[in-house]
């Protein structure tokens, strides 16, 4: 097997993996936003949607050499959703 197609494949798989994860964050964000809208009101809904959008935009447009920062933005998006979900579960 030649090296170059294998390298292209690795890069494509990694880029697709980033975008797949960002889309998963969108899906989870919409689910949590639904809970936040019911339990926490419009402020909770706005924070959830804007936080998710910000995180996804950072990941989608992130430069490939800033992996640590892009990954941290992704994790922060998950943490925001988790905090909102914890509040929604405990108050709902």
């Amino acid at each position: 097997m030649s090296t170059a197609p294998d390298s292209h494949d690795q890069l494509e798989r990694t880029l697709l993996s980033w975008r797949r994860t960002a889309l998963s964050l969108v899906a989870a964000g919409l689910l949590v936003a639904h809970v936040a809208g019911r339990g926490l009101g419009p402020v909770g809904l706005a924070v959830t949607l804007m936080g998710t959008a910000g995180s996804v935009a950072f990941v989608w447009l992130g430069h490939e050499r800033r992996i640590a920062a892009t990954g941290l933005a992704l994790v922060l998006g998950v943490l925001l959703l988790g905090v909102v979900a914890v509040v929604g579960v405990t108050t709902g």
Binding site: P5, A28, G82
Partner: protein
């Protein structure tokens, strides 16, 4: 993306040969400040593992929220507790994923053994307990 013959392909930007000192200014310095740049394929595999952990965390989080939203016949307190455990597990999983990515990247740079998978064992253990509690809740 269109495929091309190996001899006509350009090397993708991230796979170009890199200067070992090129990473020195990158953040976080405790990862990139030591050792030398590993094979890009290993770094990308590390990235994909990190992303798989994040997706797993998102699935746990979504599962917890969904569990809280449905009406089951079992005790409401147990249902809320399981939902909370799933959400908190998702939070911890995402955080552990980033830390694990960073420690693995550093280990590859300094040619040390990769970090252990103790977190994975704890995850599996907690998920087994959650699954058992779900059985009690549903039956």
């Amino acid at each position: 993306m269109a495929r091309c013959a190996a001899e006509t392909c350009e090397t993708p930007p991230t796979l170009r040969p890199v200067d070992p000192d090129d990473d020195r200014g990158r953040w976080p310095s405790w990862v990139y400040g030591a050792g030398s740049t590993p094979d890009p394929r290993f770094s990308m595999a590390n990235e994909r593992t990190f992303l798989a952990w994040v997706r797993t965390s998102l699935a746990l989080l979504a599962g917890g929220v969904a569990l809280d939203a449905v009406d089951l016949d079992g005790p409401r307190g147990l249902q809320t507790a399981i939902a909370l455990v799933l959400v908190v597990l998702g939070l911890l999983g995402a955080t552990a994923a980033w830390v694990r990515w960073a420690t693995t990247e550093r280990a590859m740079r300094v040619r040390r053994p990769l970090p252990s998978t103790a977190v994975l064992a704890w995850f599996a253990l907690v998920l087994m307990v959650v699954a058992a509690a779900l059985v009690v809740l549903v039956l």
